[in-house]
């Protein structure tokens, strides 16, 4: 059990009507990068809130390096660094003043504090702007500082909640690289995102979350295997009729078909072989195919396969 950095057992949380987190369990090993991938409202932030002690679970438990967040919050929190989804900084003071303050909140003092502040400024690439007021920073710089705050006390475990939302490619790259670098140093990382590319690039293992539930968990390859070697075809058509959908469904090699307002998602065994038949059937139903997109299996396809919906709408 001590080899586990994070252990989550049957976490459950409801807000009024919404069952935000529904019996979620998983384990993250030390040194792993583990992604929680899911669309908006899947329950990622709520799950993290319970792991970090911000939210009290309705049921279930979470442990950080063996310390229960409910029974021993101070110890559990001390080994945890958190990058909240929303930027949580004092924007009327400087970047350096922010780091100094947050460092103190994690018990850093004097020499150790100033060394860590300097190191973090270097990691997030804000050394030249350290004395500027945060409100004058670009969104990307604020995000980098938001990450930096979580690194100050050299936590064993870092949880990052969609740290790259809405930022420029350079800042994004910087954050992704720093995640990898931290992992190389042996830090365990729980990373949430709704970008499957990020989950794919970073993660040792991925949990796919939807409607408060973990619907699949495993390495990238293991998840892809769920959909098998199926290719994914996305078609747009000028006139969605049940006739054409029926005809396509009946075709050999079409495993799954999901119509969505003039856009049709199909999972097929071999796109090369199926594609001509799709056009043929369309012709017969007087339907024009206006665009075609073919994708080799990926997490998007897995999500689609499991939920019948696209990961991003």
């Amino acid at each position: 059990m001590n080899a586990l950095a994070i252990r989550v057992q049957n976490l459950d949380k409801s807000f009024d009507e919404v069952h935000a987190v529904d019996d979620v369990s998983f384990e993250i090993h030390q040194g792993e990068i583990f992604s929680l991938l899911g669309p908006n409202g899947a329950g990622k932030t709520t799950t993290i809130g319970m792991i970090s002690g911000l939210l009290r679970p309705d049921a279930g438990q979470a442990w950080l390096m063996g310390h229960s967040i409910l029974e021993n919050p101070k110890k559990a929190k001390a080994i945890l660094g958190i990058v909240p989804q929303e930027i949580a900084l004092y924007d009327d003071i400087s970047a350096r003043a922010n780091l100094n303050f947050w460092g103190k909140m994690y018990g850093l003092r004097g020499q150790a504090l100033s060394e860590r502040v300097a190191a973090v400024l270097k990691i997030i690439g804000l050394e030249d702007r350290q004395n500027s007021t945060v409100s004058k920073f670009s969104g990307g710089m604020q995000r980098r500082l938001n990450v930096g705050v979580a690194l100050l006390h050299e936590p064993h475990v870092i949880i990052m909640d969609e740290p790259t939302v809405g930022i420029d490619p350079q800042s994004r790259r910087k954050i992704l690289d720093s995640v990898k670098q931290l992992s190389h140093q042996g830090v365990t990382i729980l990373y949430t995102t709704h970008y499957m590319e990020e989950a794919q690039e970073l993660s040792d293992r991925i949990a796919i979350m939807d409607n408060g539930k973990i619907i699949a968990i495993g390495t990238h390859q293991e998840l892809i295997n769920i959909v098998g070697e199926l290719d994914r075809i996305t078609l747009t058509i000028n006139n969605e009729t049940t006739k054409v959908i029926k005809a396509w469904k009946a075709l050999d090699g079409v495993m799954k078909i999901t119509p969505e307002d003039g856009t049709i998602h199909l999972l097929v065994k071999d796109s090369n072989q199926v594609l001509p038949h799709l056009f043929e059937a369309a012709n017969q139903s007087n339907v024009r195919i206006t665009s075609v997109d073919i994708q080799e299996p990926n997490l998007e396809a897995v999500f689609l396969h499991l939920t019948g919906r696209a990961l991003r709408d």
Partner: protein
Amino acid sequence: MKIIAIALKNLWRSFRSFFALAFMFGVPILMTVMFSFLFGGIGGDDSEFTIPVTHVMLVNQDRGTDLQIGFEMDKNTYSSMGLMLLEILQRDTYTEIMTLETAIETKARKMVDEQQAGLAVIIPEDFSSALLGQSNRTTQIEFYKDPELSLGPQIVQSIVMSVVDGFSSGSLTMSSVTSALQEKGVDLNYEEQMALIQDLSEEMENDPLNSGQNLNVIPPLAEQDAKNQSDSLQTILRSIMSGMMIFYAFFTGTAAAQSILQEDEKGTLPRLFISPTTTTTILNGKFLAGFTMIIVQVVVLLVFANLVFGIYWGATFPLLLASIGLVALANSFGIFIMSLVKGTKQAGIIYGAVLTFTGMLGISSVFVMGTPIEKAFNYLPLLVPQGWAMNAFTATWKGDWPQILIHTAGMMLLAILFFFLGNMRFKKRFN
């Protein structure tokens, strides 16, 4: 200590904020200057102080003397000194200072009690005989005053005393009026003295009746000290300044507590909660910041008013008590108020309605000073915490120890109560 780090961070942010500084220091000082212009008309050389006209009830119980002699003045003979005093006070000379009504004692006292008269002058039975006997005479006239009105009745009282003085010494001088007033603790400022002298001497010159009267008006020495000159302005400034200080100290307390909600909405408070810092530490850090801010505000305003406006606040120890009470109460009231509020969106209502209303009521004694409803505002403001603070500061400069102690104790009790409730609600909310 994390508490101190949190408090310092809050203070650092506040003292960098123009808005916060303006409300803590700029606005109270500006408001004081503004209201002083409005009420006191400071700064104008042509400012006219009107001496208030006092309605005086005269009760003449003087039985004359056993000798049955008459008293002569201006060719008239009076059977008692009391009647003579009445005759003198009825002259046009004093019409701009008092309106005179004779009555029996019970009615006179009642009129004063009901604030329909400012002063009752009760001349005792043995007034004439005591005067003749040259014994202890001035103490025998009773002056029954409305305690809330000071200036008008004091002037009349001094005039009466001077007239009585004049019965024996044969001269009535302005300086005897002013020194009598000073003995009573009323310092007329220069303008008021000049207005009084002008009124008296003009009447005297124009009125043929007075020609033979030996009323001698001597202007006061020109080098009356500066303190005397500005004394009533002082009272006005002091009241307004303390009112404004109290009003805005409560704003500071509320703004400091509001930062808890702001941080909650900004996400920095949740971020503090996921650090290994307890809720108690975090909240106490915020409370300490508010406390320190109000201390700084109160100290700066007290010192500023003393140095720039020359306001004397009272003795050090009572002032310290009143200030500590104010700081504690303003801070915990802010905590309490903000603990009732869901989010910063509602804060506008708090400032606009609750704080402004309670604040104005609390310091309302400033605005009704010298008006007939003044008395009602002795106790009404005690419905709100600001009123306790206002009364404590008023008692402080009056040197009224029982009032100082009562109001400081009241403030501390309220502060403890508000802190307890607010703290409990915040803890419950964030746990």
